[in-house]
């Protein structure tokens, strides 16, 4: 069944079609929502909220953009809006740890590096993390990010450079330790 057929049937409330769309795109939706949310507990709620919104808005999808792009934008907006509604985010205000804990490498070097990056992103202040995720991970432009977050593109750039620097600060001790263990140099690519 083609994607347009699935979408048409999902519009009519066909659960099989909705599930097929979910199976196809849930990893993409969950990934972006998880990185914006910054923790697993809220990520699932936000992702589900994103799907509810998407299915509800499905009749308005006209096919001008790719469905994956349309869905991705809904997921981003939904997660950001949910974050704004959150009353307090005390976790984000906690002092930054001196270093990211290192766990023994369990996979290839991309897996190790990916895990380090994910954990470092979780430690970023909310505003920095959002811009970093949208720009460096998801590929949005500063103009697009400004539109989504309601800030200027200059603010988006400034936050991005701070976020990259903070990530580097968070990862440096870990990677230095890895270097001493004669594993991190190769893994990090220096």
């Amino acid at each position: 069944m083609t994607e347009s057929q699935l979408i048409r049937q999902a519009c009519q409330g066909n659960a099989s079609a909705v599930r097929a769309l979910y199976e196809r795109y849930s990893p993409r939706v969950f990934a972006v929502v998880r990185r914006i949310a910054g923790d697993d507990d809220t990520a699932q709620d936000y992702a589900q909220e994103a799907w509810i919104r998407a299915i509800r808005a499905l009749p308005t999808f006209r096919g001008d953009a790719r469905f994956s792009t349309w869905l991705h934008r809904i997921a981003v907006n939904s997660a950001l809006q949910a974050l704004r509604k959150a009353e307090t985010r005390t976790k984000r205000q906690a002092p930054m740890p001196a270093a990211i804990p290192v766990s023994p490498p369990q996979g290839d070097r991309d897996t190790l590096l990916g895990n380090l990056l994910e954990r470092a992103m979780d430690q970023l202040p909310e505003g920095m993390r959002q811009v970093l995720v949208l720009h460096d991970v998801e590929g949005y432009t500063h103009e697009e990010i400004g539109g989504i977050l309601g800030v200027t593109s200059g603010t988006s750039k400034s936050q991005l450079f701070k976020a990259r620097a903070k990530m580097r600060d968070l990862l440096r001790p870990t990677l230095a330790g890895e270097t001493e263990n004669e594993e991190g140099v190769e893994a990090w690519g220096t």
Partner: protein, 231 residues
Amino acid sequence: MGHLSTETLARLVSEAPTPGEAEHLASCSLCRSELEDLKVQTDALGRLPDLRPPEGDWEALEGRLVSEGLIHEGNGAAGPSRWWASGWLQAAAGLVLFLTGAALGPRIASPSFFDDEPAQGAPGDVSLVPVEAGSPPPTTLPEAAEAVRMAERQYIDALVRYRQLVDSQGNPSLVGDPASRFAAIESLVAAGRAALQEAPTDPFVNGVLVSALAERESILRNASLSGDGVF
């Protein structure tokens, strides 16, 4: 000029350096190395893989979608643990129970039951007219549903009359006579087919029709095996 700050180097990942910054980078291996690390970090962020949702995520989402009326429950999305919740199967099971109960009921009911509540019409005027033969086919879903209800009513009336005739005439040859039952099933099949034209995907209508067809096949098979010539 001192070393470039990490934030400045982070900017140089995606923007060109000023002449002063370029000059420093050309002469400082430490800053060049730091910039290179930042580029690797940024490149790696862009290659992070998608993340699979936790186990049970779809089930939780499905429940929310159903509760908000965004999907219809039981139209194929349920997993193996929810097969029993299919409306189609529930309808079919309901009809089987109905047919079984209707068939067994007269046998276990006392004759006084029928004396207290006699069926309408004089004995012997049982006449089951198939919906499609005696009236125009339904053109709307309510009409089709009404046709099904009428067929069910006729079926029940036929069974009641059948029992009354057996009791009043004491004709053992009538016990197990499938003729009136077959006529009722035929009526259900006709009504089900008419309803299906109106609502091809309706689970209840499909369930009624499939069960009625299965029952009709059973009657025909039994009649064939017994050599009964009533059909």
